[in-house]
Amino acid sequence: MRYDDDRDPALTLQLRAHLRPPADPAYWDGLEARVMAHITAEGGRALRERDGTAWWEPMVEWRRALVAAAVAALVIGAAGAWRASHVEPELAYDVVVESPPAAYGAPQRPAASRGDLLGDLLGY
């Protein structure tokens, strides 16, 4: 079916007359002004974003450095916490195990002779 065969010149003329755009140049000057005002009002944010003057723009530029610093701080903090919970108690145990207190290591009194010991036992 050929759709182009159903042209209707009368309908076309009626539509052209009905939908005729404004002819007054003042209207178009006004529309241009309204369009630019709309862009200034609504597009101001877009303009700032495009020009890179938004308040968060510098933060974006420093994003990588900030992320790296945050990761480093996290790693250091985690290492410190792990050390505090695992390494330091083990070292403390090592100190306890490897360094017996003086009370156990040193004789409380000089070695007694067999006669003194017998005297102690017999109560005289």
Binding site: P22, L31, E32, E42, L47
Partner: protein, 204 residues
């Protein structure tokens, strides 16, 4: 600008020829405005608005039923174009790119206006710039008939019959295949003829 003719002999009377001033085509001017606007020149974008607003209005008016809505769609379309200007390649025709954006803005507005009653629209002054010779009854009938068409069919009808776009251009603008644009035009014309039949002079 006048300059001596290099072909003239030294003994002869100096002959001057008129050379045409370099003519900047609309396309070159448009490209220069686009590049300047992409660099942040608001005046250059204003010049682009001046160059394209009438066609943009026609595209929006094809989709929308009222002059006021068409103007809103033009403003929205230019705003979207401004925001997306960095993504536009200056070697492409700005008008075609803009018209796609404006038609999208108009179709979006038409979807939001769908709840409006066609009769209510017919009572409004669809265009304050109408021909004084156009009768009120015919004007209302045209408004009513246009309002009953689906927005895409109405857009295809007006863009083709009133604005003179080709099917392929309309297809690109509205995001539909060329064949769909042809079939939409056929159905729109048929619906308009049927709706306006009582207002047309009968052949005697």
């Amino acid at each position: 600008m006048r300059s001596p003719d290099p072909s003239a002999g030294s003994s002869a009377t100096p002959v001057t020829v008129l050379r045409p001033a370099p003519v900047i085509s609309d396309r070159e001017a448009e490209r220069a405005f686009v590049l300047a606007a992409q660099g942040g020149d608001a005046q250059a974008f204003s010049a682009l608005v001046r160059m394209h607003q009438q066609r943009a209005y026609a595209v929006a008016r094809a989709v929308l039923l009222t002059h006021e809505d068409a103007e809103d769609a033009v403003q929205e379309g230019f705003l979207h174009a401004f925001k997306a200007l960095d993504r536009f390649r200056p070697d492409q025709p700005f008008g075609a790119w803009l018209h796609r954006i404006v038609s999208n803005a108009a179709l979006d507005l038409a979807r939001r206006r769908k709840v409006r009653d066609a009769d209510e629209l017919a009572e409004t002054h669809a265009s304050p710039f109408r021909d004084p010779g156009e009768g009120d009854e015919l004007r209302r009938a045209l408004d009513r008939a246009l309002a009953t068409l689906p927005s895409r069919q109405r857009a295809v009808l007006v863009l083709h019959d009133v604005e003179g776009y080709k099917h392929a251009e309309i297809g690109q603008m509205l995001g539909i295949p060329e064949g769909t644009a042809r079939s939409d035009l056929h159905h729109a014309r048929a619906a308009m003829r049927a709706a306006l039949a009582p207002h047309r002079p009968t052949a005697s």
